[in-house]
Symmetry: C2
Subunit: 202 residues, 2 copies
Protein backbone atom coordinates (compact mmCIF):
# COMPACT_ATOMS: atom_id res chain seq x y z
CA UNK A 1 0.00 0.00 0.00
CA UNK A 2 1.41 3.27 -1.17
CA UNK A 3 1.44 5.84 1.63
CA UNK A 4 3.84 8.49 0.30
CA UNK A 5 2.58 11.87 -0.80
CA UNK A 6 -0.95 13.15 -0.84
CA UNK A 7 -3.97 11.12 -1.76
CA UNK A 8 -4.55 12.54 -5.22
CA UNK A 9 -0.98 11.94 -6.30
CA UNK A 10 -1.01 8.46 -4.80
CA UNK A 11 -4.16 7.66 -6.75
CA UNK A 12 -2.56 8.91 -9.97
CA UNK A 13 0.67 7.00 -9.40
CA UNK A 14 -1.13 3.81 -8.47
CA UNK A 15 -3.50 4.10 -11.41
CA UNK A 16 -0.82 4.51 -14.05
CA UNK A 17 1.19 1.71 -12.49
CA UNK A 18 -1.66 -0.78 -12.45
CA UNK A 19 -2.96 0.21 -15.88
CA UNK A 20 0.53 -0.03 -17.32
CA UNK A 21 1.03 -3.48 -15.86
CA UNK A 22 -2.43 -4.76 -16.67
CA UNK A 23 -4.91 -2.71 -18.69
CA UNK A 24 -7.58 -0.09 -18.19
CA UNK A 25 -10.33 -2.67 -18.40
CA UNK A 26 -8.67 -5.07 -16.00
CA UNK A 27 -8.04 -2.50 -13.28
CA UNK A 28 -11.00 -1.43 -11.17
CA UNK A 29 -11.48 1.72 -9.16
CA UNK A 30 -11.60 -0.51 -6.08
CA UNK A 31 -8.17 -1.97 -6.88
CA UNK A 32 -6.68 1.45 -7.38
CA UNK A 33 -8.11 2.74 -4.11
CA UNK A 34 -6.98 -0.31 -2.19
CA UNK A 35 -3.41 -0.13 -3.50
CA UNK A 36 -3.28 3.63 -3.00
CA UNK A 37 -4.62 3.31 0.53
CA UNK A 38 -7.57 5.57 -0.19
CA UNK A 39 -11.30 5.26 0.09
CA UNK A 40 -13.64 5.28 -2.82
CA UNK A 41 -15.21 8.53 -1.72
CA UNK A 42 -11.80 10.18 -1.87
CA UNK A 43 -11.32 8.88 -5.39
CA UNK A 44 -14.57 10.45 -6.54
CA UNK A 45 -13.76 13.60 -4.65
CA UNK A 46 -10.72 14.11 -6.90
CA UNK A 47 -11.88 12.51 -10.14
CA UNK A 48 -15.37 12.64 -11.62
CA UNK A 49 -15.00 9.24 -13.28
CA UNK A 50 -12.61 6.40 -13.98
CA UNK A 51 -12.20 7.67 -17.50
CA UNK A 52 -11.14 11.13 -16.35
CA UNK A 53 -8.69 9.57 -13.97
CA UNK A 54 -7.10 7.85 -16.96
CA UNK A 55 -6.63 11.17 -18.71
CA UNK A 56 -5.15 12.74 -15.59
CA UNK A 57 -2.90 9.74 -15.04
CA UNK A 58 -1.54 10.00 -18.58
CA UNK A 59 -0.71 13.64 -18.03
CA UNK A 60 0.86 12.95 -14.62
CA UNK A 61 2.92 10.14 -16.08
CA UNK A 62 4.21 12.45 -18.77
CA UNK A 63 5.09 15.09 -16.21
CA UNK A 64 7.22 12.51 -14.43
CA UNK A 65 9.05 11.64 -17.64
CA UNK A 66 9.60 15.09 -19.02
CA UNK A 67 12.72 15.98 -16.98
CA UNK A 68 14.52 12.92 -18.32
CA UNK A 69 13.45 13.77 -21.86
CA UNK A 70 14.85 17.27 -21.43
CA UNK A 71 18.10 15.83 -20.15
CA UNK A 72 18.42 13.37 -23.05
CA UNK A 73 17.48 15.85 -25.73
CA UNK A 74 19.48 18.82 -24.47
CA UNK A 75 20.95 20.84 -27.37
CA UNK A 76 24.33 20.51 -25.72
CA UNK A 77 24.44 16.89 -26.82
CA UNK A 78 25.23 16.19 -30.49
CA UNK A 79 21.95 15.37 -32.28
CA UNK A 80 22.63 11.75 -33.22
CA UNK A 81 23.99 11.14 -29.76
CA UNK A 82 20.63 12.37 -28.42
CA UNK A 83 18.85 9.72 -30.43
CA UNK A 84 21.30 7.07 -29.35
CA UNK A 85 20.81 8.00 -25.71
CA UNK A 86 17.06 7.93 -26.14
CA UNK A 87 17.24 4.41 -27.59
CA UNK A 88 19.36 3.39 -24.62
CA UNK A 89 16.95 4.99 -22.17
CA UNK A 90 14.00 3.15 -23.70
CA UNK A 91 15.82 -0.11 -23.17
CA UNK A 92 16.85 0.83 -19.64
CA UNK A 93 13.33 1.82 -18.63
CA UNK A 94 11.79 -1.37 -20.01
CA UNK A 95 14.41 -3.46 -18.31
CA UNK A 96 13.79 -1.71 -14.99
CA UNK A 97 10.04 -2.22 -15.30
CA UNK A 98 10.50 -5.88 -16.10
CA UNK A 99 12.74 -6.25 -13.06
CA UNK A 100 10.02 -4.72 -10.91
CA UNK A 101 6.97 -6.38 -12.43
CA UNK A 102 8.33 -9.50 -14.05
CA UNK A 103 7.09 -8.83 -17.56
CA UNK A 104 7.79 -6.42 -20.38
CA UNK A 105 5.14 -3.72 -20.16
CA UNK A 106 5.82 -1.57 -23.23
CA UNK A 107 4.73 2.03 -23.41
CA UNK A 108 1.96 3.07 -21.02
CA UNK A 109 0.86 5.97 -23.24
CA UNK A 110 0.48 3.72 -26.23
CA UNK A 111 -1.15 0.81 -24.41
CA UNK A 112 -3.78 2.95 -22.77
CA UNK A 113 -4.31 5.07 -25.86
CA UNK A 114 -4.70 2.04 -28.06
CA UNK A 115 -7.11 0.31 -25.70
CA UNK A 116 -9.46 3.24 -25.33
CA UNK A 117 -9.05 5.33 -28.45
CA UNK A 118 -12.18 4.01 -30.14
CA UNK A 119 -14.26 4.35 -26.98
CA UNK A 120 -13.07 7.40 -25.10
CA UNK A 121 -12.29 10.52 -27.06
CA UNK A 122 -10.67 12.33 -24.11
CA UNK A 123 -8.17 9.54 -23.52
CA UNK A 124 -7.46 9.25 -27.23
CA UNK A 125 -6.80 12.96 -27.43
CA UNK A 126 -4.49 13.04 -24.43
CA UNK A 127 -2.60 10.08 -25.80
CA UNK A 128 -2.21 11.82 -29.15
CA UNK A 129 -1.04 14.97 -27.39
CA UNK A 130 1.72 13.10 -25.63
CA UNK A 131 2.82 11.53 -28.89
CA UNK A 132 3.13 15.01 -30.33
CA UNK A 133 5.25 16.14 -27.42
CA UNK A 134 7.65 13.24 -27.89
CA UNK A 135 7.78 13.90 -31.62
CA UNK A 136 8.86 17.46 -30.93
CA UNK A 137 12.01 16.21 -29.20
CA UNK A 138 12.73 13.88 -32.10
CA UNK A 139 12.09 16.60 -34.64
CA UNK A 140 14.54 18.98 -33.06
CA UNK A 141 17.16 16.27 -32.98
CA UNK A 142 16.82 15.39 -36.67
CA UNK A 143 16.67 19.06 -37.63
CA UNK A 144 19.92 19.67 -35.77
CA UNK A 145 21.41 16.58 -37.36
CA UNK A 146 20.56 17.90 -40.80
CA UNK A 147 21.94 21.30 -39.84
CA UNK A 148 25.20 19.63 -38.89
CA UNK A 149 25.27 17.80 -42.21
CA UNK A 150 24.91 14.40 -40.57
CA UNK A 151 21.80 13.42 -42.51
CA UNK A 152 20.41 14.42 -45.88
CA UNK A 153 16.62 14.38 -45.40
CA UNK A 154 14.91 17.70 -44.75
CA UNK A 155 11.30 16.61 -44.03
CA UNK A 156 11.73 16.92 -40.29
CA UNK A 157 8.16 16.60 -38.98
CA UNK A 158 7.53 13.58 -41.18
CA UNK A 159 10.80 12.03 -40.09
CA UNK A 160 10.07 12.59 -36.42
CA UNK A 161 6.74 10.81 -36.70
CA UNK A 162 8.39 8.03 -38.66
CA UNK A 163 10.92 7.56 -35.89
CA UNK A 164 8.23 7.60 -33.25
CA UNK A 165 6.27 4.91 -35.06
CA UNK A 166 9.41 2.85 -35.14
CA UNK A 167 9.76 3.19 -31.37
CA UNK A 168 6.11 2.28 -30.85
CA UNK A 169 6.52 -0.77 -33.04
CA UNK A 170 9.49 -1.96 -31.06
CA UNK A 171 7.73 -1.50 -27.73
CA UNK A 172 4.58 -3.24 -28.89
CA UNK A 173 6.53 -6.20 -30.16
CA UNK A 174 8.64 -6.31 -26.99
CA UNK A 175 5.50 -6.47 -24.87
CA UNK A 176 3.74 -9.09 -26.98
CA UNK A 177 6.83 -11.26 -27.15
CA UNK A 178 7.68 -10.45 -23.53
CA UNK A 179 11.26 -10.02 -24.65
CA UNK A 180 13.61 -7.07 -24.21
CA UNK A 181 15.99 -8.06 -26.99
CA UNK A 182 13.81 -6.55 -29.73
CA UNK A 183 14.58 -3.15 -28.26
CA UNK A 184 18.22 -3.56 -29.21
CA UNK A 185 17.07 -3.32 -32.84
CA UNK A 186 15.67 0.15 -32.25
CA UNK A 187 18.86 2.11 -32.89
CA UNK A 188 19.81 0.46 -36.21
CA UNK A 189 16.24 0.87 -37.45
CA UNK A 190 16.24 4.54 -36.60
CA UNK A 191 19.60 5.04 -38.22
CA UNK A 192 18.30 3.45 -41.41
CA UNK A 193 15.21 5.61 -41.41
CA UNK A 194 17.09 8.85 -41.03
CA UNK A 195 19.67 7.75 -43.58
CA UNK A 196 22.67 8.21 -41.32
CA UNK A 197 25.83 6.15 -41.55
CA UNK A 198 25.40 2.80 -39.80
CA UNK A 199 25.83 3.20 -36.05
CA UNK A 200 28.80 1.71 -34.27
CA UNK A 201 27.84 -1.18 -31.99
CA UNK A 202 26.73 0.00 -28.57
Amino acid sequence: MDTHGHTKQRLLDTAIQLIWEQSYGAVSVDHICERAGAQKGSFYHFFPSKSELAVAALEAHWQQRQPEMDRIFTPETPPLERLARYCASVYRRQKAKRMEFGRVCGCAFTCLGLELSTQDEAVRHKSQQIIERICRYLETAVRDAAGAGLIARQDFPVMARELYRCIIGVLVQAKIENDLEVIRQLKPSIWRLIGAHPPVAR
Copy 2:
Protein backbone atom coordinates in the same frame (compact mmCIF):
# COMPACT_ATOMS: atom_id res chain seq x y z
CA MET B 1 -28.06 -9.66 -35.06
CA ASP B 2 -25.87 -11.99 -37.02
CA THR B 3 -27.78 -15.09 -38.12
CA HIS B 4 -25.53 -16.49 -40.84
CA GLY B 5 -23.61 -19.68 -40.30
CA HIS B 6 -23.52 -21.86 -37.26
CA THR B 7 -23.53 -20.61 -33.73
CA LYS B 8 -19.88 -21.21 -32.94
CA GLN B 9 -18.69 -19.35 -36.02
CA ARG B 10 -21.14 -16.51 -35.36
CA LEU B 11 -19.80 -16.18 -31.83
CA LEU B 12 -16.23 -16.05 -33.13
CA ASP B 13 -17.05 -13.51 -35.82
CA THR B 14 -19.00 -11.30 -33.46
CA ALA B 15 -16.34 -11.53 -30.78
CA ILE B 16 -13.48 -10.45 -33.01
CA GLN B 17 -15.59 -7.67 -34.47
CA LEU B 18 -16.60 -6.21 -31.12
CA ILE B 19 -13.16 -6.62 -29.57
CA TRP B 20 -11.54 -5.03 -32.61
CA GLU B 21 -13.89 -2.07 -32.46
CA GLN B 22 -13.80 -1.68 -28.69
CA SER B 23 -11.49 -3.77 -26.53
CA TYR B 24 -11.44 -7.09 -24.73
CA GLY B 25 -12.22 -5.45 -21.42
CA ALA B 26 -15.07 -3.37 -22.79
CA VAL B 27 -16.87 -6.26 -24.47
CA SER B 28 -18.83 -8.64 -22.28
CA VAL B 29 -19.88 -12.20 -22.97
CA ASP B 30 -23.46 -10.95 -22.82
CA HIS B 31 -22.82 -8.41 -25.58
CA ILE B 32 -21.21 -11.01 -27.79
CA CYS B 33 -24.08 -13.44 -27.27
CA GLU B 34 -26.70 -10.79 -27.92
CA ARG B 35 -25.07 -9.60 -31.14
CA ALA B 36 -24.45 -13.15 -32.30
CA GLY B 37 -28.04 -14.14 -31.52
CA ALA B 38 -26.96 -16.89 -29.16
CA GLN B 39 -27.66 -17.75 -25.57
CA LYS B 40 -25.09 -17.71 -22.85
CA GLY B 41 -25.36 -21.45 -22.36
CA SER B 42 -24.41 -21.94 -26.00
CA PHE B 43 -21.39 -19.71 -25.53
CA TYR B 44 -20.13 -21.79 -22.65
CA HIS B 45 -20.95 -24.96 -24.52
CA PHE B 46 -18.37 -23.99 -27.17
CA PHE B 47 -15.86 -22.01 -25.13
CA PRO B 48 -14.73 -22.75 -21.57
CA SER B 49 -14.10 -19.08 -20.81
CA LYS B 50 -14.05 -15.60 -22.27
CA SER B 51 -10.27 -15.75 -22.39
CA GLU B 52 -10.27 -18.95 -24.46
CA LEU B 53 -12.78 -17.39 -26.80
CA ALA B 54 -10.27 -14.60 -27.39
CA VAL B 55 -7.61 -17.09 -28.38
CA ALA B 56 -10.00 -18.90 -30.70
CA ALA B 57 -11.19 -15.62 -32.19
CA LEU B 58 -7.62 -14.56 -32.96
CA GLU B 59 -7.02 -17.83 -34.77
CA ALA B 60 -10.32 -17.60 -36.66
CA HIS B 61 -9.57 -14.04 -37.67
CA TRP B 62 -6.22 -15.13 -39.03
CA GLN B 63 -7.81 -17.96 -40.97
CA GLN B 64 -10.07 -15.42 -42.65
CA ARG B 65 -7.12 -13.26 -43.65
CA GLN B 66 -4.76 -15.93 -44.81
CA PRO B 67 -6.17 -16.36 -48.33
CA GLU B 68 -5.63 -12.68 -49.07
CA MET B 69 -2.11 -12.87 -47.67
CA ASP B 70 -1.39 -15.81 -49.97
CA ARG B 71 -2.73 -13.87 -52.91
CA ILE B 72 -0.66 -10.77 -52.14
CA PHE B 73 2.54 -12.66 -51.42
CA THR B 74 2.37 -15.15 -54.28
CA PRO B 75 5.85 -15.84 -55.72
CA GLU B 76 4.46 -14.98 -59.13
CA THR B 77 4.48 -11.32 -58.15
CA PRO B 78 7.85 -9.51 -58.12
CA PRO B 79 9.04 -9.26 -54.50
CA LEU B 80 8.96 -5.49 -54.08
CA GLU B 81 5.58 -5.41 -55.76
CA ARG B 82 4.36 -7.84 -53.10
CA LEU B 83 5.38 -5.41 -50.38
CA ALA B 84 3.79 -2.52 -52.23
CA ARG B 85 0.54 -4.46 -52.60
CA TYR B 86 0.60 -5.38 -48.94
CA CYS B 87 0.99 -1.71 -47.98
CA ALA B 88 -1.95 -0.88 -50.22
CA SER B 89 -4.04 -3.69 -48.74
CA VAL B 90 -3.36 -2.46 -45.22
CA TYR B 91 -4.66 0.96 -46.20
CA ARG B 92 -7.66 -0.52 -47.99
CA ARG B 93 -8.64 -2.69 -45.05
CA GLN B 94 -8.38 0.14 -42.55
CA LYS B 95 -10.40 2.40 -44.80
CA ALA B 96 -13.09 -0.23 -45.20
CA LYS B 97 -13.28 -0.76 -41.45
CA ARG B 98 -13.53 2.94 -40.84
CA MET B 99 -16.33 3.17 -43.37
CA GLU B 100 -18.19 0.44 -41.52
CA PHE B 101 -17.50 1.45 -37.93
CA GLY B 102 -16.73 5.15 -38.19
CA ARG B 103 -13.30 5.04 -36.59
CA VAL B 104 -9.85 3.75 -37.41
CA CYS B 105 -9.52 0.42 -35.60
CA GLY B 106 -5.90 -0.58 -36.28
CA CYS B 107 -4.80 -4.18 -36.13
CA ALA B 108 -6.99 -6.55 -34.13
CA PHE B 109 -4.13 -8.97 -33.47
CA THR B 110 -1.97 -6.24 -32.04
CA CYS B 111 -4.69 -4.50 -30.06
CA LEU B 112 -5.86 -7.66 -28.37
CA GLY B 113 -2.33 -8.97 -27.90
CA LEU B 114 -1.16 -5.72 -26.38
CA GLU B 115 -4.13 -5.43 -24.04
CA LEU B 116 -3.83 -8.91 -22.60
CA SER B 117 -0.21 -9.92 -23.01
CA THR B 118 0.73 -9.18 -19.41
CA GLN B 119 -2.36 -10.89 -18.04
CA ASP B 120 -3.16 -13.83 -20.25
CA GLU B 121 -0.33 -16.00 -21.45
CA ALA B 122 -2.48 -17.94 -23.94
CA VAL B 123 -3.63 -14.79 -25.72
CA ARG B 124 -0.11 -13.38 -25.70
CA HIS B 125 1.22 -16.57 -27.24
CA LYS B 126 -1.42 -16.74 -29.95
CA SER B 127 -0.81 -13.11 -30.80
CA GLN B 128 2.92 -13.76 -31.05
CA GLN B 129 2.26 -16.78 -33.23
CA ILE B 130 0.28 -14.71 -35.70
CA ILE B 131 3.03 -12.10 -35.82
CA GLU B 132 5.44 -14.86 -36.76
CA ARG B 133 3.16 -16.03 -39.56
CA ILE B 134 2.99 -12.56 -41.04
CA CYS B 135 6.74 -12.16 -40.72
CA ARG B 136 7.21 -15.32 -42.75
CA TYR B 137 5.48 -13.70 -45.73
CA LEU B 138 7.62 -10.60 -45.35
CA GLU B 139 10.77 -12.65 -44.98
CA THR B 140 10.17 -14.55 -48.21
CA ALA B 141 9.54 -11.29 -50.03
CA VAL B 142 12.77 -9.65 -48.88
CA ARG B 143 14.74 -12.83 -49.51
CA ASP B 144 13.42 -12.94 -53.06
CA ALA B 145 14.17 -9.24 -53.45
CA ALA B 146 17.76 -9.84 -52.42
CA GLY B 147 17.93 -12.82 -54.75
CA ALA B 148 16.85 -10.56 -57.60
CA GLY B 149 19.50 -8.01 -56.65
CA LEU B 150 16.90 -5.40 -55.70
CA ILE B 151 18.19 -4.92 -52.17
CA ALA B 152 21.57 -5.38 -50.55
CA ARG B 153 20.77 -6.55 -47.02
CA GLN B 154 20.98 -10.27 -46.32
CA ASP B 155 19.66 -10.50 -42.73
CA PHE B 156 16.22 -11.61 -43.83
CA PRO B 157 14.56 -12.67 -40.53
CA VAL B 158 15.75 -9.52 -38.81
CA MET B 159 14.54 -7.43 -41.74
CA ALA B 160 11.14 -9.08 -41.77
CA ARG B 161 10.61 -8.34 -38.10
CA GLU B 162 11.83 -4.79 -38.65
CA LEU B 163 9.25 -4.33 -41.38
CA TYR B 164 6.51 -5.81 -39.27
CA ARG B 165 7.29 -3.44 -36.42
CA CYS B 166 7.05 -0.60 -38.89
CA ILE B 167 3.58 -1.77 -39.91
CA ILE B 168 2.51 -2.12 -36.28
CA GLY B 169 3.76 1.36 -35.55
CA VAL B 170 1.77 2.82 -38.41
CA LEU B 171 -1.43 1.05 -37.38
CA VAL B 172 -1.09 2.03 -33.75
CA GLN B 173 -0.58 5.65 -34.65
CA ALA B 174 -3.43 5.58 -37.16
CA LYS B 175 -5.78 4.27 -34.47
CA ILE B 176 -4.68 6.71 -31.78
CA GLU B 177 -4.87 9.65 -34.16
CA ASN B 178 -8.00 8.23 -35.77
CA ASP B 179 -6.51 9.15 -39.12
CA LEU B 180 -5.86 7.00 -42.15
CA GLU B 181 -3.30 9.30 -43.73
CA VAL B 182 -0.45 7.98 -41.58
CA ILE B 183 -0.78 4.69 -43.41
CA ARG B 184 0.31 6.35 -46.64
CA GLN B 185 3.73 6.72 -45.00
CA LEU B 186 4.05 2.97 -44.65
CA LYS B 187 5.51 2.25 -48.06
CA PRO B 188 8.27 4.89 -48.01
CA SER B 189 9.27 3.79 -44.50
CA ILE B 190 9.51 0.19 -45.58
CA TRP B 191 11.50 1.11 -48.65
CA ARG B 192 13.97 3.00 -46.47
CA LEU B 193 14.31 0.11 -44.07
CA ILE B 194 15.07 -2.44 -46.76
CA GLY B 195 17.38 -0.02 -48.55
CA ALA B 196 15.63 -0.16 -51.89
CA HIS B 197 15.53 2.70 -54.36
CA PRO B 198 12.86 5.24 -53.37
CA PRO B 199 9.44 4.04 -54.48
CA VAL B 200 7.60 5.80 -57.25
CA ALA B 201 4.53 7.67 -56.01
CA ARG B 202 1.48 5.44 -55.77
